[in-house]
Symmetry: C2
Subunit: 468 residues, 2 copies
């Protein structure tokens, strides 16, 4: 392996090849702390050509590659296994915004640009890049593309997949595919871009992308709404869509357990409503500066919701600071739950009409497996997507760990029976690769394996991720 | 081959295996008349299981398959070659709407359902299936999916690819992949659905699909607008987007040559404006029944367009009948040009900002190659997509045929130089398979060939289409 390390140092410079444990530590453990691996080296290329040289060297040496963005994934898809034989390729130094074209509505970026910086570059040009996640300050657009990230803007703008026009990818043999097209329409062959989006680094290393921009939406009307049930939240969604149409930008749910954790662990957080409620919805309408009716539309939605028993109370943001405070309640849940202790994460979709019945039924099932287990439930109810995360009964973190496999199996089985998905937006990574395959038909797994073998015959791209 | 024909008759019934030229004639010649092939047999299965049996039989016999929907394609992708060795699998008998779920916003259909019937089923449920094409009365949804069809609603709702949630596909070896998921979010592996969409029957036979439905838009405000240039049309698009936002549903361009052919050949067509103009735009705003401001928004757009010199005159539809008459001018162009005589079709995209300069420049180039050649130009200017079709100088159809290769090469070269696409929405088919590959990088062609070999190793699915 000395030869390979020499080749890597030649490719990117000796300073950018990290091998000491002290230097590689931040790259080999994932955000959840569940996956702690080791790496032969962590390599930090600064350009597409350097990525290509690194991949070529690894390919020739028969050494596996783990592409990594901001290392904010939740399923261990961006960290190496425990063998110490894999090379982590971190894209974090590739942070260039290559081009912004507000008239065409496109932005071209390096893969390592942090999502918040993509948003800022769009905003500076008077446009909107709508993708928004809790980790947007540290996740990179390359990671978002590799995992087909979701977030809070999917309801209106779609998943990452729907926001990309073209890609630049270093293939497993080191060749570069330049698919950086900025066209909305191009029917000249298989959609290679969509094949790489969501492939979790198993088919190549995404190094650049052309993304879609949208008209800016500087006006907002935002409310934190107490709702009696998931059913009521789903009905309220219908009401909101009817009144606000395309202006409805956010429709996020959280249960009381989630809010309690945020109030306990997030400095400065306070409950915007006087009485506690079992469920809450964060509703936001967004529009152009010429859209004057957002506040009226929000009030109409909330008025009709109270009349129909779909809501019991609501706090409307009266200033940008109040809006930020409401968003912080939603965005702080994941971090607050981490502070609280052991967490068992799930990220499921069900048909929206079945969501309420599913949540009720699974809660009872899980309580039989581990009495007192606390479902910290939140997510994107408008997409049928719940982050159904479990915290241990107070003080019983070890019991949660011991029961984890049974709890997860119960959730996955019920989701599969309900024609849902066991990973709505986080991907499969290492955590769910086996489960993902086990809930698919043999034909579908065969198709996925055929594609993997066709593009990565040596099996060196992120092995063990996505496919078991 | 007698054995194969016996197997096919067993699979679908003897009545549904056509071998006489009199019976197969309508299936072996494409709409343009350019591609006239022969078939070993035309088979008309009535169910997914029957399609699977047909594909299995052909696979075992080593006989190539040409899947066919409504046979309305414009690039010869759905008709057999001249060998007489291929089996056409027509999906036209699979016309069942399997399910409509207006709450979830989904419709599940057989591949052979005619597009207009999908639209009608959505409408009956109070929803909108937005895809709209000139051939919607005879094209099938399976063909739309196989070619990633575009049409007049792409500006607001996207290509076919953006309207599909899941597919059912009979694979080249006869196995059935059931990917009929109705979920907006499902990150559990490679996006197989998007791989089959736009693959033009070269990776399998699409037999069913789950499609997205949208809120109905029963209110319309429609105008036929005279504009001085393509540049003015592009600027008018910006004005329309600013005033109408998400209500802007249609923004179609046509030149005077196109209108002249419609007026000459479409019974009952009349020019809605007193003075001729070099270019026209069909603008339509669409909204829910509660959207009251569409007429005002359209008038604001047209008022400001006239003030800024972007439009010289406009006819606003005052009734559904007048709306239909304006749409007929746009939808009738393709048919009218066919009546006029020999046509050389092109379907190009360019970056919108470059469209006007490109149209001016290419017009001059073509006139040097064939003096008097008539560009009948129309299409989806909001998507940067022009149908840049050529009619012969009057009476000189043979000259057009003789110059066809030179004219097409000039167009493709200029499109490639301008970072555009030589097929925006029609696909590559037989007509453009060679050209499609020649304007791509070797890496990209290699990737496409690797995918084809992985899914169809025997090369029996629609050979000669999409890839040369």
């Amino acid at each position: 392996m000395t030869d390979l390390l020499d080749h890597l140092r030649t490719a990117v410079g000796a300073d950018q090849v990290l091998t000491d444990d002290a230097d590689t530590g931040a790259y080999v453990v994932d955000w959840t702390g569940v996956h702690a691996g080791r790496a032969l080296a962590v390599v930090r290329p600064g350009s597409t050509d350097e990525v290509a040289a690194v991949v070529t060297a690894c390919h020739e040496a028969g050494v596996a590659i783990v592409p990594q963005g901001g290392n904010t994934g939740l399923v261990g898809g961006g960290v190496p296994d425990g063998s110490g034989d894999q090379v982590v390729v971190s894209l974090g130094r590739m942070r260039r915004v290559r081009d912004v074209d507000p008239v065409a509505g496109t932005i071209t970026v390096d893969a390592g640009v942090v999502l918040a910086d993509v948003q800022a570059a769009a905003s500076d040009a008077g446009r909107l890049f709508p993708m928004s996640l809790g980790s947007e300050g540290s996740c990179t657009i390359g990671g978002n593309l590799a995992t087909n990230a979701g977030g809070t803007a999917v309801l209106r703008y779609g998943m990452t997949r729907e926001l990309v026009l073209g890609l630049e990818v270093v293939l497993p043999d080191g060749r570069v595919w330049d698919g950086l097209r900025a066209l909305r329409k191009d029917n000249t062959g298989y959609d290679l871009t969509q094949l790489f989006v969501g492939s979790e680094g198993t088919l190549g290393v995404i190094t650049g992308a052309v993304l879609r921009l949208f008209p800016a939406t500087p006006r907002h009307a935002t409310a934190w709404v107490a709702v009696p049930s998931v059913d009521a939240a789903v009905s309220l969604l219908g009401t909101a869509q009817q009144h606000a149409g395309a202006h409805l930008a956010t429709f996020e749910i959280a249960n009381r357990q989630a809010l309690d954790l945020v109030l306990a662990h997030l400095p400065g957080a306070s409950d915007p409503l006087a009485e506690p409620s079992e469920w809450y919805v964060l509703v936001e309408l967004a529009g152009a500066s010429s859209d004057g009716g957002l506040d009226d539309a929000l009030e109409a939605i909330l008025g009709s919701a109270v009349d129909e028993g779909l809501a019991t109370d609501a706090a409307i943001a009266g200033s940008p600071a109040q809006r930020s405070a409401l968003w912080a309640l939603r965005e702080g849940i994941s971090e607050a739950q981490k502070v609280e202790g052991a967490t068992l994460k799930h990220d499921v979709t069900l048909p929206i009409a079945d969501l309420a019945a599913w949540a009720t039924s699974i809660g009872a099932t899980l309580d039989r497996i581990l009495p007192g287990v606390r479902p910290v439930t939140y997510g994107h109810v408008g997409d049928g997507n719940l982050h159904y995360n479990l915290s241990a009964p107070v003080g019983l973190d070890d019991d949660l760990r011991a029961a984890a496999a049974d709890l997860t199996t119960a959730i996955y089985d019920s989701v599969a029976a309900g024609h849902g998905s066991i990973s709505a937006e986080h991907g499969l990574g290492r955590t769910k690769a086996v489960a993902g395959a086990s809930y698919k038909s043999g034909v579908e797994v065969d198709l996925m394996r055929a594609l993997k073998a066709a593009l990565d015959p040596a099996g060196l791209m992120n092995p063990g991720v996505l496919l078991p």
